[in-house]
Symmetry: C2
Subunit: 141 residues, 2 copies
């Protein structure tokens, strides 16, 4: 049972804190969201409200898919659609006090997991990169 | 040194074989590449030539970044630009006989690693998901 050797891993230590997480706001249109994604270089970011509560994830794929017409990509529609119409509302979330193995299991199928408090306010994100870096380091000892 | 317990991990067993890897061809324009990415749902795919040799990676971000004008996203330019003008030519690659720990180290900073033979022909890709799934399984025993 190797997980005993990995018990010094905590979500809080590894997560990227909320103030460093790029996001878009509820009510933003898809053009704004696409600009945020393009400029930050991320392919998916959280969607938050004015109180920083988590509502969903917006991704370049969801945006592109929503404007894919029969004949061409209908880019003009980006200005008229809001993130809430397109975002993935089924977001995996954990609490900062959850066991890191729960986070490892979730990142198998998600590139990152949102860490929220009991009010749904975003506290940070736990990414595949941070857990891969930690696991690699532990395996090299 | 836990890595001894993980010695049953091989790149060949874990990689996604080339015939299951979505890709674009050298000479395709960015509009075609964006359609492939949107329809497959991937944010990045390899760029291959007619002999399936690996030349680079094309990503939604690189495409969007290339048409980001001063005032707006210049979508009309997608038809006139080729994948080779925009793709990331600095692709991490491994051989199928390389040690899996080398692959683990590379996926810290890359979402996937290309597996090529000595002629540069793509044999498969090694993704973060497959190694996370394997590590999780090994840690649960
Ligand atoms: N500006 C940058 N600097 C250095 N490396 C970069 C980078 N942008 C992307 N990468 C690399 O590419 C991976 C995939 O990024 P992606 O944006 O698709 O997927 C990202 C993105 O959707 C989200 N993410 C990561 N950091 C974020 C942040 N600060 N704010 C918002 N979302 C973030 O979590 C996903 C997984 O991130 P992870 O770090 O595991 O994996 C990242 C990282 O290894
Ligand atoms: N159609 C689908 N079905 C199920 N899950 C899906 C999916 N599309 C994406 N995902 C999930 O989202 C993660 C990130 O996908 P992304 O396209 O950004 O980044 C992907 C993509 O750029 C590339 N990739 C994966 N499979 C591919 C394939 N069959 N052909 C071409 N590229 C592939 O490797 C990266 C990492 O893939 P990984 O599997 O670790 O991680 C995937 C996977 O967990």
């Amino acid at each position: 049972v190797f997980s005993e050797e990995f018990t010094n891993i905590s979500i809080k230590d590894l997560m990227i804190p909320a103030d460093k997480v790029a996001h878009v706001q509820m009510g933003n249109n898809l053009e704004h969201a696409l600009l945020v994604l393009t400029k930050t270089g991320y392919t998916a970011v959280p969607v938050l409200d004015a109180q920083y509560r988590l509502h969903g994830l917006i991704t370049t794929n969801l945006i592109m898919d929503s404007i894919l017409g029969l004949e061409r990509i209908e880019f003009e529609r980006l200005q008229n659609m809001k993130v809430e119409e397109v975002m993935n509302k089924d977001v995996s979330r954990l609490n900062v006090s959850d066991d890191w193995m729960k986070a490892l299991k979730l990142v198998i199928n998600h590139t990152f997991v949102c860490i929220t408090n009991e009010d749904g306010v975003l506290e940070g994100i736990f990414t595949r990169r941070v857990i891969l870096k930690k696991l690699h380091k532990q395996l090299m000892i």
